[in-house]
């Protein structure tokens, strides 16, 4: 049995090698046709297409469908993966490795509204390369949770050599941590002060936005003074990008839903949302917040002395659109699917888990018009997998970002 498996491991890259060299030769092809065993589309009807063809041209998906119904143009290069799965590129909502790790936290004040992670983005760093090996194609780079407001995040692709290629949206979000680390600031601070202070900061930003809105609509002739810090927040109050909230435990999530979503009416993504945060599921259901949970999908509940699956906790209490994040480097970026798998080990379900690393986080960040599913017109971001990515035995063999191969196990061994 063991011998057989070893033989299979040896053989499988060899089989693939047969397909790859041809791909490398065809430089002037107008597009690429991926002929695969299965496509998990993650489209609105959750379609799964067996024996499918995906056409890629100009960095976008041109067509997807059963092999019989998709005509491959003459000048397209054909790549064959007859037994493999083509899965949407994975999206991570809460990531610290797409930029320089040394710049994670600038803990100047308890709230640091002037900071922006855009200045720290590093294309092709080693962690980004690892991410590609795990099938991850987009990630929201956010500052750390050392303070209550640590700056604006940047949505990045895991492929591309320049900032303009890498950055999907800037600001990608505003990072807030209402507690759950900022309490160690200076000599310690409690939740009553932190929440008051965070609210004060956001209210200043909101008032700035309102003054400009009034001026822009012609309701007042008094032109407000321009402020480069508060000006970055205008998109937040226009709901052009969300607030990424590092949240954990009951009280924090409750406060986020109440203060940020209901009272300040912000577009809220509860990321992290660990420990017993899932107990707020009833409150989340009554609100419009998105929930993405991680780095760990389980926790030890002291009150009943057993392991609890957080993801299952959310799911079975009604938050069925649940995402998974790694909080890399807390959990390595390439282990995004493994965290979803651990959620399943503790009672979650594989298909919702696969949604949770693709279309769900893409929707939470408002980038689902570009990524998160395999549909014509979307960015050609996907991975070729040996099987279900949520099955820990499966491996990613090839990763494509914006139509370009950024990782190919046959050309370079897996980096982790």
């Amino acid at each position: 049995m063991r011998g057989l498996r070893a033989a299979a491991l040896l053989l499988s890259p060899l089989c693939l090698l047969a397909a790859s060299p041809r791909a490398a030769l065809a430089g002037e092809a107008a597009g690429v046709a991926y002929r695969v065993g299965k496509v998990i589309t993650m489209d609105k009807s959750d379609a799964v297409i067996n024996g499918a063809v995906v056409l890629v041209a100009g960095g976008k998906i041109e067509a997807v469908g059963p092999a019989a119904s998709v005509r491959i143009p003459e000048n397209y290069r054909v790549v064959e993966f007859p037994d493999r799965w083509l899965v949407p590129g994975l999206v991570d909502c809460h990531n610290h490795i797409a930029g320089s790790l040394g710049d994670l936290n600038d803990s100047v004040y308890l709230t640091n509204p002037g900071l922006n992670s855009r200045q720290t983005v590093e294309p092709n760093n080693d962690n980004v390369k690892n991410a590609r090996g795990g099938g991850v194609t987009s990630a929201l780079l956010i500052p750390g949770s050392g303070t209550n407001m640590s700056g604006f995040g940047t949505i990045c692709k895991m492929g591309g050599d320049s900032l303009s290629e890498v950055i999907v949206r800037s600001p990608g979000s505003l990072k807030i941590a209402q507690a759950g680390n900022p309490e160690w600031y200076w000599v310690g601070v409690g939740r009553s002060f932190m929440n008051w202070n965070t609210r004060q900061t956001l209210e200043k930003a909101r008032d700035y936005n309102e003054r400009w809105e009034q001026f822009d609509k012609g309701e007042t002739k008094e032109k407000p003074e321009f402020n480069p810090i508060w000006d970055q927040f205008r998109g937040l109050f226009r709901r052009e990008f969300p607030v990424s909230v590092h949240s954990q435990g009951y009280q924090l999530l409750m406060t986020t839903i109440d203060m940020l979503a209901k009272k300040l009416k912000l577009w809220v993504v509860l990321d992290h949302s660990e420990f017993d945060g899932w107990k707020t599921a009833a409150l989340v259901k009554d609100s419009d917040v998105f929930t993405v949970q991680g780095p760990r999908s389980y926790h030890f509940e002291r009150t009943c002395r057993k392991m609890i699956g957080n993801a299952a906790g959310w799911y079975y209490n009604g938050v069925t659109e649940l995402g998974i994040n790694t909080d890399s480097p807390v959990v390595p970026q390439e282990e995004l699917t493994l965290q979803a798998a651990l959620g399943c080990w503790y009672g979650w379900l594989p298909y919702p888990a696969l949604r949770g690393v693709t279309i769900v986080p893409a929707r939470a960040l408002g980038i689902d018009q570009r990524v998160g599913s395999i549909e014509a017109g979307k960015d050609a971001d996907f991975g070729i997998w040996t099987g279900d990515p949520i099955d820990p035995r499966s491996a990613c063999l090839l990763t494509v970002v914006n139509g370009k191969v950024v990782y190919d196990v046959n050309k370079k061994p897996r980096p982790f």
Binding site: G249, A282, L283, G313
Partner: protein, 463 residues
């Protein structure tokens, strides 16, 4: 009256408690009447200890839409009421905790002066403290920051049930926390100087605000400035509006109330729970409260030694919340002789309005307020007075005696069903009703089961 719906709502409450506890070990989270209104509930055949009025050996209580509507013998029970047969049991008002920092992440912030903060931002409904309250018969608690501060924030009066602080809220915070006893690292000089400085800064802030308002008013009327700054500050006072006052000062203005003869900022009043840990703190507390206009809304949070200023406390005639430790021990520095004083006896004699607190250590019986009251009776305090000290008196101190603290028609349906007399140590809390909702049953309390039921063979060891 939709009988089916309301019955379900109430049962869902208990079922929710059980499921919550099984999944995550939480009891305090079941939704309070999130859907469906409170039902009609009748408790029949129990011994009623109403705190106000005579005991009824075998009586009925009717709760409609959360309020008690009738108490007496052989009441006519409406056909659609949910009937809880409590014969053989004792029904007592839900207990009221006059002040506690429990349910907060930390009792106090590091900063000395934080009147602008509110425990609303820090109460955690999932904390075990609230579950413990329910289990011990507490239906209302005033959560307020601890005394390790100069001026702390505003508290909040909550029921120990609900998914969010809004759901838990009975009433907004009635008071700020002030401490006359020095906070950690402070001495009395710095403590009092910081208090005076805070109020002096408030005065200055209000005067500048008045002056600015007066000048703006003149500008609008296109008049020239006609008076000096002192007069402008006087005239401007009447022009200050509620929303002129910034967040940092708002609660201090609410505490202060009237600032000048004719000047009353149009904002709701706040009182103060003033911690006097020692007898010597009472005098400065009274002086401060009179000087800054909140004397009639001051409650004294006493420490052990504070009783030595009983004469001053009596002449001030303000309510007193006793410390959880009821015995004060004096040690003679020369002979080493220990003199014990049972504090409630002294406060009961004084004629002041006083309230008991549960003990702070969760492993000792003092954490049960009924045990605290029983100790009072054992030490000679009248039974009625001891019972009031855990129900009606704290309700009065919180200004909620029209709603809480006794079993009377018109009050909230906050009742606890006990297995025996409230002051019997063998008595257990069997059921708790808050505003007519059955929110706790001992036989559905998983943690209580875990504690009392013998484990199956081989599974007895606890980590």
């Amino acid at each position: 009256m939709n009988r089916g719906k309301s019955t379900r709502a109430s049962w869902r409450c208990v079922a929710g408690a059980a499921i919550g506890a099984m999944l995550g070990g939480m009891l305090a989270l079941p939704a309070m009447a999130r859907d469906g209104e409170p039902e009609r509930v009748a408790l029949t055949g129990g011994r009623i200890v109403p705190v106000v009025g005579a005991e009824i050996a075998r009586g009925d209580i009717l709760i409609e839409h959360g309020k008690i509507t009738a108490v007496g013998e052989k009441l006519e029970i409406p056909y659609d009421a949910r009937v809880l047969d409590v014969s053989g049991k004792t029904v007592f008002p839900g207990l009221v905790v006059a002040q506690t920092p429990r349910g907060l992440d930390v009792p106090n912030e590091m900063r000395p002066v934080t009147p602008f903060l509110d425990v609303y931002d820090a109460i955690d409904p999932s904390q075990m403290a609230f579950e413990e309250m329910l289990r011990s018969g507490v239906t209302t608690a005033h959560v307020i920051v601890g005394a390790n501060c100069v001026i702390g924030g505003v508290g909040r009066i909550v029921r120990p049930v609900g998914l969010s602080v809004d759901e838990m809220t009975v009433a907004a915070g009635p008071a700020l926390r002030i401490s006359i006893t020095p906070k950690g690292g402070y001495d009395r000089l710095l403590q009092m100087a910081t208090l005076r400085e805070t109020f002096a800064e408030l005065n200055d802030y209000l005067e500048r605000l008045a002056e600015k308002r007066y000048e703006e008013d003149l500008e609008q009327k296109k008049k020239k400035l006609d008076v000096g700054p002192a007069e402008a500050r006087q005239r401007g006072r009447e022009l200050v509006r509620a929303d002129d006052i910034d967040d940092q000062h708002r609660n201090l203005v609410r505490l202060r109330g009237e600032v000048g003869a004719a000047y009353r900022p149009p904002i709701g009043r706040l009182g103060a729970f003033v911690y006097c840990g020692q007898a010597m703190d009472v005098g400065p507390a009274v002086k401060l409260a009179k000087e800054y206009g909140f004397f009639d809304r001051m409650v004294i949070s006493a420490g052990g030694e504070t009783f030595k200023a009983l004469a001053e406390l009596k002449s001030a005639a303000r309510p007193v919340v006793l410390p959880p430790e009821l015995i004060y021990r004096d040690v003679d520095p020369i002979t080493g002789k220990v003199t014990e004083t049972f504090l409630p006896s002294r406060y009961a004699e004084s004629g002041l309005l006083w309230a008991l607190l549960p003990g702070e250590d969760a492993s000792l019986p003092e954490r049960f307020m009924t045990y605290q009251a029983a100790r009072c009776v054992r030490n000679g305090v009248a039974r009625d007075e001891a019972l009031r000290a855990i129900t009606l008196n704290p309700a009065k101190i919180l200004g909620l005696d029209a709603r809480l603290g006794s079993i009377e028609a018109g009050k909230d349906g906050n009742l606890i069903v006990l297995s025996g007399d409230p002051l019997d140590f063998n008595t257990q809390v069997e059921q708790v009703l808050i505003e007519g909702m059955l929110v706790y049953e001992r036989w559905n309390d998983p943690r209580m089961k875990r504690l009392t039921e013998s484990a199956p063979a081989g599974q007895g060891e606890r980590p």
